[in-house]
Amino acid sequence: MAYSFPEEVLEHVFSFLSSDRDRNAVSLVCKSWYEIERWCRRRVFIGNCYAVSPDIVIRRFPEVRALEMKGKPHFADFNLVPEGWGAYVHPWIRAMSEAYPLLEEIKLKRMVVTDESLELIARSFKNFKVLVLSSCEGFTTDGLASIAANCRNLRELDLRESEVEDLSGHWLSHFPDNCTSLVSLNMSCLGSEVSFSALERLVARCPNLRTLRLNRAVPLEKLPNLLHRAPQLVELGTGAYSADIRSDIFSNLAEAFSVCKQLKGLSGFWDVVPAFLPAMYSVCSGITSLNLSYATIQSPDLVKLVSQCRNLQRLWVLDYIEDSGLEALAASCKDLQELRVFPSDPFGAEPNVALTEQGLVSVSEGCPKLQSVLYFCRQMSNAALVTIARNRPEMIRFRLCIIEPQAPDYLTLEPLDTGFGAIVENCKELRRLSMTGLLTDKVFEYIGNHAKKLEMLSIAFAGDSDLGLHHVLSGCKSLRKLEIRDCPFGDKALLANAAKLETMRSLWMSSCSVSFGACKLLGQKMPRLNVEVIDERGPPDSRPESCPVEKLYVYRTVAERRADMPGFVWMMDGDKALAFS
């Protein structure tokens, strides 16, 4: 009975569905459900901005209020994607400015955003509330000024890790005096100093402010002024954590911290002067997230701080913490879920700190809830990896970076196949894996056989032959993103598993052995994939077909060929003539 439920009832029921997967499933039930669902979908997530076009999205979902979108492939973070590749958001903003006047949220990651786009956002969406620009670039503080000035109901302005052209700190002063709606402000990536009094007043008049991440230029001695005006803060990012060593500065700071009883997250900590760390001790017991990844303080100071944070769930830290510090962490922070250890001296020839695989092993032993790891180190052994795997079978994200490419097990000099094999075998819930070290095809066999829930895999300098890639593509059922650099993978595995690529979001291969001919073939045979050859040496057809391409980016798409390709990107599709325009 197609008309047993009035549409409004169904709409109401659907409003409880937040997950995209559920909504997609619902829309496949029947035509009327498809129609009802599409009219009431408010949030759209687009994992690859080129997988679909603005028109298609707008046509299907006419009442969207929140858009979340990602642009460049992940390896763009490491400068592997040349500048000018794409991921421009402006066409989207233009289309949405007409179609979605009630748009409230835009969250972008790795996209190119211009001041023009920001101005258009500020002008077009009267009820605009949330702007999150994560690792974006292409805009200046002028664009921020127009957002600040025009978005009267702005709740979130989060610029995490974006590259902003810093013309001046004046943009902050553009928040009108009647703006009281801010809940979250993250300007940690900016360099310029903002007017402190404007910042103070802004903070004071926004009673709902929960997250405030300052930039490095905000001096420590002024931090208490802000904390006193926002004692309800839940997340704080300090500016530079250094000042003249004076007792009045210290006591002001300590007092200010003690007032913030709701603080759960701390970050910032550039230029830390250890003498000021104890000022924070009063809040440590409530801290669940601590980002010390810019804090160049040594292990003893780190340990003193961290061991106060008994409820810590997430810790980002530099490798100054050393094995001893990690042991202490394992002893005191039993709720730890996520650990990231960054290298303080990635290019040094010799290790500058006593951080080895042992630190990670201790944490895996001591922290029963550990599920997410990003670890940079200089040596690793199969034994350690096996131990970690056995200790933490519920691991979800495991990213290991041994700084030296192709480093073998330092004890046995063997490849690390066994170790990573143990990881995928034991950790059945593993969703993300990044591997480094000396690895042969064997490890890919293990991955193909065991990593059934793996969604994202990053490989560098690994493998022996196409068989490795074949194992991964044929075995990993849940694979969505695969990124490979500098591996001897060629045409065979790619072509043999071409159909798999349509089930994935994207594949990135750079400095591998995929020939131009294979790329062409792939593009011709798979019309629903965009096969992009990125090659800065000139047109690929000026070289033999067997010549490997520099970089290959393959992604599924329902959009037409993109019109914004720069001169070093060639689209492989059926029409050979178009392929080299």
Binding site: H90, A275, F461, D486, G490, D491, S515
Partner: protein
Amino acid sequence: MRSAVVSGGGGVNSSGSMSTLSSEEKSMVMSSEDSSSYPDEPELELGLGLSLGGGKAKPRPPPAKATAAGSWDQYARILTAKDFPSMVSTKASSSSSSSSSSPVAKANNNNGSCGTKRTAEPSSPPGRSAIRKFLSKPELIGPNSSLIGAFPDYCLSKIIFLLLLWIFHFFGSVMAFGLDFDMLLWLQFQELSQVVGWPPIRAYRMNSLVNHAKSPATEESATAIDKSKGTNLVLDKTNYSSNRNHNVAKERGLVKTSLFVKVNTDGIPIGRKVDLSAHSCYDSLAHTLDHMFKLSAAFGATRSKTEEEVVMGGIRRPPRLLDSSSDFVLTYEDKEGDWMLVGDVPWEMFLSSVRRLRIRRTAEVNGLDIGRQFTFFPLSSSCLELPPEFLGL
């Protein structure tokens, strides 16, 4: 960001042209060619009936030969893997006669063997020069001391060479006007940074590390001093509309009138900062940038056909940055966002309108890069900087 491998350590170029491979590299490459019959490679069925004619994408196994180079390969399997036989043979024949002193950067042209390659762009483990690996592995030196016995001259001369070069650069750079501490650190960065994007750390974080390079132990005293200067600076800086990077200037406790702008070079992922107010004319700026980015060395490496020339980097007078004969072009972005060639306007006018600098590679000429027909960087303002809307696309 385009990244070329800068030939750090004064060495070999990595500008991709096979003609600069040393004999060592060539022999390795040749030997891998010879062992092309890799018996155990299983054949993959091409399920979709897709097939290629004569695809040569066979990954190369470590050469079984016990050549001097071969004994490293168990740790460097992929390093030597990927050159195509056809390309290798044509290039090899036109290559230079190389001296015995060896390459620093194994710019392994795994992709680049065909036609030109920008300086070892997708340099595979290339950046981990075999030398570096060799030197950094104590276990190779200990139990496998036969390796040392095998070519003492090779590694000794290499060490001495590297040491000399480092000293040369150190003193040379101290004399360059506008040197900052970063430069010395950058010298350390050279080798590993020859591999693009390795280790996988975001640029955001890397820049932070560079600024942190002063040892944390001394920071306490340093910051205390800087802070007192810092507070004064803050007040002055707000009036300085054309100033960037307030924090950096503050940290270094520098003079109020510093004007730091970012400088990026094609091929180097990490940008640098240069204090324009420390210069009074274009020449000194060019000289500094030359030094900073090792342009002459890179250039010298590109042009030179012999190892000696490369090794002796400084002997040939390298073309200066602003010469039209240079391989590089210095451009700047002005207040309007346009990219202009540096040198056209009076120095003071330049100072007042410059926002940031970029050193671009000119089209590679003189038959160095065979087959390259494309210029990616027109000398006028780069269309790659602007999103397509502005180009009327």
